[in-house]
């Protein structure tokens, strides 16, 4: 391809031969400032898009009669999470943590604005770009919960939980590491949030699923599992693709800088590793379900992709491509075995969020020292355990409080009719012939 060679040639010509960028490179500070902010913005809109991914994955995996409710919950929680993160979350997490347990209680506001005469470049990036990027993360944690507790939780108590999760629980545990709190001091490392985002959502989901109980009819009188297939595997697949796409922002922009060649190299590696961990998860889930069950289970393959993504999130930079594939494949293996295990325990997780986000979140976090010399298993375990304990305890308190005050579970009759009619008074697919009955 002449053009290509020309282009490459041209680029090569532009550079004086043999130029090397040292780690303390000399990119103009203002250019670096712009590029860093741009990375946050691109990463931010990609992660925002994950809200749609969760929405479709979950809408596809619930029955028709709960689809509209699922859509409402997902767009609602994204909005609520953002508002809470503005009202209290961001500063709780990032303002004045200083090796401690919690930041300060105050509204967030941008450090510098476009109205100013001049911009201080020390920050390295526009503070609003950072806020935007951090804000979309908290919504991710919340989305995880909605999938697990679907089809039986009451709408407003659900939102009440989301308010506490995004306004308090997430920011506090986030402060411990990313806010440079005590866990960070102890050397806990979680690049983009296998534990800090995904497991947190997972713990909140797990406690919720246990306290809520299973959907009616999910487990038979003899304890057997009765599968409840979802309404649309096409939407579930599209949701997974969206999440996969969004994850490039999730992990890639967690490099937090694009202002030097070495950052560009890092972000590129992260993109490649993120993709390949998901690919490893897909292939492993395909092979395993074919081998175990004789037929490939598409829902497990979708979970497998996400398992790979969650697993690589704690350290998407240091693995080689081959290692990334393996890390993802192990994640998918965990999912394939944990899904039926949860069913044995009668923990009803509608979309598989617990195996994907909690189990693989732990796995990914514990796998960091395998490829990153600067970390230790002890520190990783400390982070996993302390965050898990805090989030579980806090979640249990909130779930139980809600349960014994306003109640968290819809009536049996409303559950049979479905949330769409009972909570929204409308159907997702109202035209005749779309039942809500798996036969």
């Amino acid at each position: 391809m002449k053009k290509r060679i020309l282009a490459i040639g041209l680029v090569a010509a532009i550079m004086s031969m043999g130029v090397t960028a040292p780690a303390e490179a000399a990119v103009d500070p203002e250019v670096a400032y712009i590029l860093n902010s741009l990375l946050f913005l691109i990463g931010g809109f990609l992660v925002m898009w994950m809200a749609a991914g969760f929405c479709l994955l979950e809408a596809g995996l619930v029955r028709t009669k709960n689809v509209a409710t699922m859509c409402l919950k997902n767009i609602g929680l994204y909005a609520v999470a953002g508002i809470l993160y503005f009202l209290v979350g961001y500063n709780l997490m990032y303002s004045g943590v200083d090796g401690g347990f919690i930041g300060s209680l105050s509204l967030w506001s941008a450090g510098e604005t476009a109205a100013s005469e001049a911009v201080k470049l020390d920050g390295g990036y526009a503070s609003a770009s950072d806020w935007f990027f951090q804000m979309v993360f908290v919504a991710t944690a919340a989305s995880i919960v909605s999938g697990t507790v679907a089809e039986r939780i009451k709408l407003f108590p659900f939102f009440a939980f989301i308010i506490v999760l995004t306004g308090l629980i997430y920011p506090i545990e986030g402060a411990w590491t990313w806010g440079q709190g005590w866990l960070n001091v102890r050397g806990f490392s979680d690049f983009a949030g296998s534990t800090i985002v995904h497991s947190v959502g997972g713990w909140a989901a797990l406690t919720g699923a246990i306290i809520l109980g299973a959907r009616r009819g999910k487990y038979g009188p003899n304890g057997e599992t009765r599968p409840i297939p979802g309404s649309s595997l096409t939407f579930a697949t599209l949701g997974t693709f969206i999440l996969w796409l969004g994850w490039f922002g999730f992990n890639g922009a967690s490099q937090l800088a694009l202002g030097s060649a070495i950052d560009a190299v890092a972000v590129s590696q992260i993109f490649a590793n993120t993709n390949m961990a998901a690919a490893g998860g897909v292939v492993m889930a395909m092979c395993l379900t074919k081998f175990l069950y004789k037929k490939v289970d598409l829902t497990m393959v979708l979970n497998g992709a996400l398992a790979g993504l969650v697993s690589i999130t704690a350290e998407p930079l240091t693995p080689t491509i081959g290692q990334a594939i393996l890390i993802g494949a192990v994640g998918a293996t965990l999912v394939v075995f944990v899904v039926p295990l949860l069913d044995k325990l009668h923990i009803d997780d509608v979309v598989g969020a617990i195996p994907v986000h909690l189990v693989c979140g732990i796995w990914g976090t514990m796998a960091v020292p395998l490829t990153n010399d600067g970390t230790s298993f002890a520190a990783q375990a400390l982070g996993v355990v302390s965050i898990g304990a805090f989030v579980s305890a806090a979640s249990i308190i909130v779930w139980l409080t809600l349960k014994y005050t306003v109640g968290i579970r819809v009536s049996a009759e409303d559950e049979d009719r479905g949330g769409d009619l009972s909570e929204l008074g409308m159907e997702a697919y109202p035209e005749f012939g779309h039942g809500s009955q798996k036969i």
């Binding site: 009819g217 049979d416 008074g425 409308m426 005749f432 012939g433 039942g435 809500s436 009955q437 036969i439």
Partner: protein, 112 residues
């Protein structure tokens, strides 16, 4: 032979099917219908306008059975589909003049 048509609540289908199995019904056709009766629809608000949802989703069963099974099937349906609430449904019985199994050409009771 008789043809029994029953209208039941959708979530009762599994119970009904198993109960029918137990009394020896081994063929069944179901379809998805909507209906109303004592259990009326309900009014909802959509984009600020009230409207009536007249029909409620139901499952329609068709069973062709030998004459001697009518009592048993009727009773089984009545019990398995029962919740005691409005909208539990109906059982309708018709005379079935002839039946034929396409695969073998058997006719009458043999075909069921």
């Amino acid at each position: 032979m008789k043809m029994i048509t029953a209208i039941i609540k959708p979530f009762k289908l599994d119970d009904v099917r198993l109960a029918l199995n137990d009394v020896g019904v081994n063929g069944l056709t179901v379809s998805e219908v909507k209906g109303y009766g004592r259990q009326k629809g309900h009014s909802e608000i959509y984009r600020g306008a009230e409207y009536e949802v007249a029909f409620v989703p139901k499952i329609r069963l068709e069973l062709a059975i030998r004459d001697d099974m009518v009592e048993a099937v009727r009773e089984t349906l009545r019990q398995a589909a029962h919740t005691g609430e409005f909208g539990d449904g109906k059982i309708f019985e018709f005379d079935l003049e002839q039946a034929l199994r396409i695969r073998t050409g058997e006719m009458g009771d043999e075909a069921l």
